[in-house]
């Protein structure tokens, strides 16, 4: 085990852990934001630079500071390391700089973006950004394209996190999209005329931190905070079948994987990641396709939690109504405490 401190809070983690993972164990404000890192995807992280931290002391053996800010998602901890995140004004200033740069070419089209409300860039900008933009030139523009009949790509909103590329590499049986061009002209694209067509391709939507890859079957149906998330499952031969339904009344508007407080797809009981297949995601849009488990815990970042949980009772009522007043098996505990967003902040 390795001992270190992050913002003066001591933490002990196994050797090989990254600073970001150690900070997630502490939780709360100490945890740096991460736009490109995704713990379930190998070799992810290091690109967006939002998780930068200051290493004031490299280790006990070599107490020199690391001269430049490091990407906490790709830097391993060392015994006696002293890390500063929110206790270093210099670091917060550097992060604000990264956020400003991430936004200079972003269209800021949140009012018409399906991701609004669950967008990590929105949260990031809200928490770390400046009130006004200093960028006064034309923004980079790409035409939105349909990659296949289920997925929409808005390249204008992309922050080049490479997560979708890694999903295609690591969990589908063949990648047919990638990055073309260079610098600020770089874009995610498929091979000419080729759509993303694979049983697990829909997961690129779940990992996209912004509104670049969205679900065409959910397009403009509703703002996410007007939908009510419930966890549900079905017997699926292709995937784990454990999903989150986003409902309005009894209508299933959208199906996604279940995500944890960091916005990442959760693990199954056996430790594998609960990616879902396209059949569950796109084709099972009837409430009768699913066994409802109960309301979903919502990620601490999301405006959905800020805006919605005063109506938790309504979800409870809706859920019970859907279940015909009788939950499957044991009675579902819809105790408010466990789902209180304020509780999650305290973690």
């Amino acid at each position: 085990m390795v001992k270190l401190t992050i913002d003066d809070i001591p933490v002990e983690v196994p050797k090989g852990t990254t600073i970001l993972q150690a900070a997630r164990l502490i939780g709360g404000d100490v945890t740096p934001p991460a736009m490109c890192y995704y713990s379930k995807l190998k070799t992810s992280g290091g690109y967006c630079r939002t998780c930068i931290v200051k290493v004031e002391q490299g280790s006990e053996k070599d107490p020199r500071p690391i001269p430049k800010p490091v990407a906490s998602c790709r830097t391993e901890v060392a015994e006696g390391m002293v890390v500063r995140n929110i206790t270093s004004p210099e670091n917060l200033e550097a992060r604000a700089g990264v956020v400003e740069l991430l936004l200079v070419n972003h269209p800021l089209d949140c009012p018409v973006c399906d991701q609004a409300g669950e967008c990590h860039l929105q949260d990031l900008a809200y928490e770390n950004g400046k009130e006004e933009t200093r960028y006064e030139f034309e923004r980079r523009e790409f035409d939105p394209i349909d990659i296949g009949d289920k997925i929409k790509l808005h390249m204008n909103r992309c922050i080049m996190c490479f997560r979708c590329v890694k999903v295609a590499d690591q969990i589908t049986d063949g990648r047919c999209h990638g990055v073309i061009n260079r610098g600020d002209a770089a874009e995610i694209s498929t091979y000419i005329e080729k759509a993303i067509d694979n049983d697990f391709s829909g997961n690129v939507i779940d990992v996209c931190p912004v509104g670049a890859l969205t679900d065409r079957t959910f397009r403009f149906k509703s703002r996410v905070w007007y939908t009510k998330p419930v966890d549900a499952h079905r017997n699926c031969t292709k995937c784990c079948g454990k999903v989150r339904l986003w409902n309005q009344g009894e209508e299933v508007l959208r199906v996604t994987a279940r995500k944890d407080q960091w916005g990442e797809v959760m693990d199954n009981e056996d430790g594998t990641t609960a990616w879902i297949c396209n059949e569950c995601r796109f084709d099972k849009k009837h409430i009768n396709d699913w066994t409802i488990e109960g309301p979903s815990e919502i990620n601490r970042h999301s405006v959905i939690s800020a805006n919605h949980y005063d109506t938790l009772r309504n979800i409870k009522m809706d859920t019970l109504r859907m279940l015909g007043g009788k939950p499957h098996g044991e009675k579902v505990d819809l105790g408010i405490g466990a789902l209180d967003p304020n509780n999650q902040h305290k973690q």
Partner: protein
């Protein structure tokens, strides 16, 4: 005449051929190394010589080599970085074009020292014709038994491959180079691990500049201790300088490190003074990414000492009043040069060459170029100058690879030393109308 080690024979006709190269003492150092010395002894010689990387960073070569991991049963590689793309730098091209066998001899000695049986030359796409010269020299060396199996009967095997890049500046960054060499998109890797542990195909790899590897030949020829006597302080040996700009005699010069900058610019042996007898305005001493210095700071340090062509002397004063030796791309600007336009050209280059992998460089380089364009159009404000300064500070040190710094440093230095000129563009464009514009403004950004 100062001492020449690398270019002592470049005037001999036919030196590019194996026959003439050998007639002039070529491949004797390699024979000495392979037949009479052990890899450990060779490494010691290189360490003793004090040789520092000639690609720009100036890292001690012997130390870099000693970091190479040597796990059992895993191949090790030597990769020569011939992706010379730093604007203002063209020394490696000259060396490879005129004396290709010097590089090959250096590669054989270095590979033997490192215990590598495969070595690569990664050369930039624009140097396609140079790659043919290298291929030809390699073929000659194979035919003469200097490469391949059992070299000169010593039992040592070595194959050398030439790989032509596609012309991307970023592929000169060592890990982007390795990615490209592996056939992937040339994006820099996130370090650690460093190439010495996991480099080409995940195996321990040493990546060195062309000139560094070539310098190994005279080091073994004369001995590391003798080599260390040349130069000044920790800047040992000789260095190739690519001199360009408003000088009478642009070209590649081999200098002994420690030569006064003033002598280099004005003596007949080297640059031969400023063209047309005009005054010196500024110098970019080590390739476009190093900080530009005005006349008073390039000829003398802030402390009033004469500035010397060495890693230490050029670096004196940090970035406040100093610069870097870098790759030795020495760009001289006369009094008529517009620093703002020059900076715009540099910024346009870095914007174009950013790989797009990490956010600060991808977004920041384009922003800086656009602001400079605006200032040059006469639409800038004083606030824009401060904004430029702020953006460069938000890029520097926040990126995966040094391209971020390379893009930020020239902006910082130009504003630091020539701020009144930027202000003149903003407040009184008339006052600068006499400045000749050597760089044409790109109509579209």
């Amino acid at each position: 005449m100062s001492r020449k080690l690398l270019l002592k024979n470049d005037h001999i006709p036919g030196i590019a051929t194996l026959k003439t190269y050998r007639e002039n003492g070529g491949y004797t150092a390699m024979e000495k190394a392979l037949k009479t010395m052990s890899p450990d002894a060779l490494l010691e010689e290189v360490k003793t010589s004090g040789l520092r990387g000639r690609g720009g960073a100036g890292f001690p070569t012997g130390m870099k080599w000693s970091f190479l991991a040597k796990p059992e049963g895993v191949p090790r590689y030597l990769v020569v970085n011939a992706d010379e793309s730093e604007p203002g730098t063209f020394k490696d091209r000259y060396l490879m074009e005129h004396i290709p066998h010097l590089l090959i001899e250096g590669m054989i000695i270095s590979s033997f020292t490192l215990g590598s049986n495969s070595a690569y030359i990664y050369i930039r796409g624009e140097y396609f014709y140079v790659s043919r010269i290298l291929e030809q020299a390699i073929d000659e060396a194979y035919a003469a038994g200097l490469l391949g199996k059992n070299i000169l009967g010593t039992g040592y095997d070595l194959d050398i491959y030439v790989q032509v890049g596609a012309g991307a500046y970023i592929c000169g960054e060592e890990t982007a180079l390795l990615e490209s060499l592996e056939g992937k998109r040339g994006n820099p890797r996130i370090k650690p691990p460093f190439p010495a542990i996991a480099g080409l195909y995940g195996c321990p790899t040493v990546v060195n500049n062309v000139e560094t590897i070539a310098a190994v030949v005279p080091i073994i020829e004369m001995g590391g201790a003798e080599y260390a006597k040349i130069g000044i302080g920790r800047s040992t040996g000789t260095k190739l300088i690519s001199a360009s700009g408003h000088i009478n005699k642009p070209g590649v010069y081999e200098i002994e490190l420690g030569l006064p900058v003033e002598e280099f610019i004005y003596s007949e042996e080297y640059c031969g003074g400023i063209k047309g007898g005009r005054k010196l305005k500024a110098v970019v001493a080590g390739g476009s990414s190093v900080p530009i210095l005005p006349t008073e700071l390039i000829l003398k340090t802030a402390a009033g000492e004469p500035r010397l062509m060495s890693y230490e002397s050029l670096g004196e004063g940090g970035f406040v009043s100093g610069t870097m030796l870098g790759s030795g791309g020495f760009i001289v600007m006369d009094e008529d040069t517009s620093i703002v336009k020059n900076l715009y050209t540099f910024s346009r280059f870095y914007h174009h060459e950013s790989c797009g992998q990490c956010s600060p460089c991808r977004e920041g380089t384009g922003w800086m170029e656009k602001i400079l364009h605006k200032i040059l159009e006469g639409k800038g404000t004083l606030k824009d100058i401060d904004l430029l300064w702020d953006i460069q500070s938000k890029i520097e040190g926040k990126t995966i690879c040094p391209l971020g710094e390379a893009a930020a440093w020239p902006v910082a230095a130009a504003i630091r030393h020539f701020r009144p000129e930027f202000e003149a563009y903003v407040t009184n464009p008339e006052s600068i109308k006499d400045v000749k514009h050597y760089y044409r403004l790109n109509p579209t950004v």
